[in-house]
């Protein structure tokens, strides 16, 4: 029916349009020139020209995570593909749906060490959810549609399609998406109802329960976050979120304990430690969350809801696994809970909340305000005060500033917080912010950055200039790789090996060089003015906030320690292990 003669490039573009794609992030090169030529002749797809392929993938991640759609990347063969590898790994670790089209040398040259040839499917096999090398034009349309299905369904992730140049120029026939059914890949979406009933039974009996939820709730779509809110309110249980889950439950809600994990709140981590029931929805017991495994939540029964069977019993053995999509399982949990009209042990729950309130009263996020120097925490608090009533999206780079942003900015809705969690990719935030701004042109998009991370993908300021994206870069500049320095201080005797950022650029001039506005605050009384000016500027801004160089990020669970061994601040002894030093085993952990 639809089998009119088309070129491979035309088939690809038609497939993209039929998959609902509007934006592609890419960078041209020899092997993909035919595709760029076909793109030149159409108007349905917008191409955003990045300055390095790594930026394209992070931009697509930002786009995907802030919209729930699949992010699309187009790069050339060889170095184009290898530059994309970090972003693909990042998307795999954080379950972000990406389809990445890579150029390849013509099929007859594959394996000959041709110019700009790389074994892209070989290199990307372990860092993608799936990948394809298209060697026969009749597979092209099917592979395109399958790739989108694989990327967005189940546990989302990146998919690479490697496209030899002869496939792009040769004739190919089109098949619409409805006619493509995947042979083997059918993720389980609905949870087993008997297990859901068993989960409700466990929840009814719990005396010290806690919801521990993660990125799976966000990935399931905004409806899942609403359902989570309903269930948390129905039960009256406390709720903590992982770094990837922030926004899935409103930060302002009294039942929210804050983020958990290595730099999580005291109340969240102690609630995890003291709980008799964990209800994990869409989180994966990551080592940043669990701390020392044999001391992790030692007295609790554990329910684990995850769409990925392989996340279950990987790090932590659980009592009741439920494989399914967070949204579907939450919906069923609510139904069963309502039907049972459970009588929970009010007295025990009251005692649990009293205990939690005592932990909260420690006010673990307080810090010593600076008189002459800007504390990074203060900078973020002031930023939040200025943006909280505006439609805003936050991205971050990786390091201390990222953890402070997670602690001091409050997220009320999902898809508003874009950060590199699993892989911890410095340089993620700026291109991600670019992708978010493309998806939400009118919204306020801020990249909370460190002065070290921002330099890793600073070239994207040029992309931001080209498309006039009003991205705001808020640099907490302490002239150190702060998290590296913090670990060297705590674990390596204060030997600051290579963590000092010498010869930093003048960020104000750098902003100007890229056609953006540069601002600087070095004293607390300059801060509000700079934030105000940044927000009032309708173009890109780099705000260089010179903060306390020695500030460390607390609370902190040192490596190899348990949740109840937290350090609350620089002078804190209360939570320290008896020997006050980190064990050998802990040192080995990163």
């Amino acid at each position: 029916m639809a089998d009119q003669p088309m070129t491979g490039s035309e088939v690809i573009l038609k497939a993209l349009v039929d998959q609902g794609v509007e934006v592609i992030f890419g960078y041209p090169g020899g092997a993909v020139l035919p595709l760029y030529d076909a793109m030149f002749k159409q108007n349905s797809l917008r191409h955003i020209l990045v300055r390095q392929e790594g930026g394209a993938v992070h931009a697509a991640e930002g786009y995907a995570r802030s919209t729930g759609k699949v992010g699309v990347v187009l790069v050339t063969s060889g170095p184009g593909a290898t530059n994309a590898v970090t972003g693909l790994t990042d998307a795999l670790m954080d379950s972000i749906p990406i389809v990445c089209l890579t150029g390849q040398v013509p099929t007859h040259l594959i394996g000959n060490d041709a110019f700009q040839e790389a074994d892209t499917t070989g290199i990307t096999r372990p860092c993608t959810k799936h990948n394809y090398l298209v060697k026969d034009p009749k597979d092209l349309a099917r592979v395109m549609h399958e790739a989108f299905y694989v990327a967005r369904s189940g546990r989302p992730g990146p998919v690479v399609i490697d496209l030899p140049k002869d496939i792009l120029v040769g004739a190919a026939s089109y098949v619409p998406p409805e006619r493509v059914k995947h042979r083997s890949y059918k993720p389980q979406v609905k949870g087993d109802l008997r297990k859901i009933e068993a989960a409700v039974e466990m929840m009814m009996k719990a005396k010290r329960p806690v919801f521990y939820c993660g990125g799976g709730v966000v990935n399931s779509g905004p409806a899942a976050s609403k359902l989570l809110g309903q269930l948390v309110h129905l039960t009256g249980f406390p709720c903590t979120l992982t770094l990837m889950g922030l926004g899935a439950f409103p930060a302002s809600d009294p039942q929210f304990l804050g983020m958990l994990g290595m730099h999580g709140t005291y109340e969240a981590n102690l609630a995890m430690h003291g709980a008799d029931l964990l209800i994990n929805v869409g989180a994966r017991f990551d080592d940043r969350v669990t701390g020392r495994l044999n001391a992790f939540s030692p007295n609790s029964k554990k329910i684990h809801i995850d769409i990925d069977q392989s996340s279950i019993n990987k790090n932590v053995a659980v009592d009741l696994p439920i494989v399914g999509d967070a949204g579907h399982v939450l919906e069923d949990l609510i139904k069963v809970w309502k039907a049972k009209q459970p009588k929970i042990d009010q007295k025990a729950h009251k005692a649990w909340w009293t205990q939690i309130d005592q932990w909260r009263a420690r006010d673990c996020l307080k810090y010593k305000p600076g008189k002459d120097v800007i504390k990074p925490q203060y900078a973020l608090q002031r930023l939040y005060e200025a943006i909280k009533d505006r439609d805003h999206y936050i991205t971050t780079e990786v390091g201390q500033h990222q953890m402070w942003a997670a602690q001091y900015l409050k997220f009320e809705e999902p898809n508003r917080w874009m950060t590199s969690g699993g892989l911890g990719t410095m340089g993620y935030g700026l291109p991600a912010a670019m992708g978010v701004q493309i998806a939400h042109p009118k919204a306020l998009v801020i990249d909370v950055a460190g002065e070290a991370s921002i330099l890793m993908n600073i070239q994207e300021m040029s992309t931001i200039a080209q498309y006039r994206l009003p991205v705001k870069v808020f640099i907490l500049n302490n002239e150190y790789m702060g998290m590296v320095r913090q670990w060297q201080e705590l674990l390596h005797g204060g030997r600051y090996s290579e963590s000092y950022m010498e010869s930093l650029p003048d960020f104000v001039k750098l902003a100007e060089a890229f056609g953006a506005v540069g601002l600087r605050a070095s004293k607390p009384d300059e801060l509000d003015g700079v934030i105000k000016e940044m927000l009032a500027t309708d173009k890109a801004v780099i705000a260089d906030i010179l903060v306390d160089k020695t500030e460390n990020c607390f609370p902190m669970i040192p490596s190899g320690a348990a949740h109840n061994d937290m350090l609350l601040g620089p002078g804190d002894e209360s939570g320290k292990p008896a020997d006050k030093s980190v064990s050998e085993e802990g040192m080995v952990l990163v």
């Binding site: 959810k129 799936h130 694989v150 995947h182």
Partner: protein, 170 residues
């Protein structure tokens, strides 16, 4: 926790799409996540449906074995993963080709033992035999050990293939 558990040996059958790179995907999964492969065989079993069957013998704690199965299941071109070791009685077989070189009494003795093991002579010269033997891994190990002092010079073995007993397919 997992470290204190006993290590078990499991034979796992995996039905996959016969497409380029599928073996690399499976092998990469094992090496990337630090799992053991004791034996691995693969061949197409259904040409019309383009299906291959991989038999992998692996070892690990029960938690690791569960992980291996879950990780295999989530590979996109995998249709089915079946742990034959836990799913009931099954048959495991290997095939070996063993070359024994020598003359005189040793040569006669190798032929005698081959007969006991129901091995077939598939190649013969004045000074050598090639034996073909099928059986369980233990039986083939025993055969190889017996041939060692009798002039064993070369071994080629297929690795384990396995199938469940009874009428049900995989």
């Amino acid at each position: 926790m997992a470290q204190t558990q006993t290590v078990e040996r499991h034979t796992i059958a995996v039905l996959v799409d016969n497409e380029p790179g599928i073996l690399a995907r499976v092998v990469g999964l094992f090496s990337g996540r630090g799992y053991n492969i004791e034996s691995l065989t693969v061949a197409e079993v259904d040409a019309a449906e383009r299906l291959s069957r991989i038999t992998v013998v692996t070892s690990g704690t029960p938690m690791v074995i569960e992980q291996i199965k879950a990780q295999l299941s989530r590979l996109v071109p995998v249709h089915k993963v079946s742990d034959l070791t836990v799913e009931g009685p099954h048959i495991e077989r290997e095939l070996i080709l063993v070359k024994v070189a020598g003359t005189g009494e040793k040569r006669v003795e190798s032929l005698r033992i081959a007969d006991v093991f129901r091995a077939r002579v598939v190649d013969s010269t004045i000074e050598s035999f090639v034996f073909e033997v099928t059986g369980s891994t233990e039986k083939l190990d025993a055969f190889i050990n017996l041939m060692r002092p009798l002039g064993l010079v070369d071994v080629s073995r297929t690795g384990v293939v396995a199938i469940a007993r009874g009428p049900k397919p995989l």
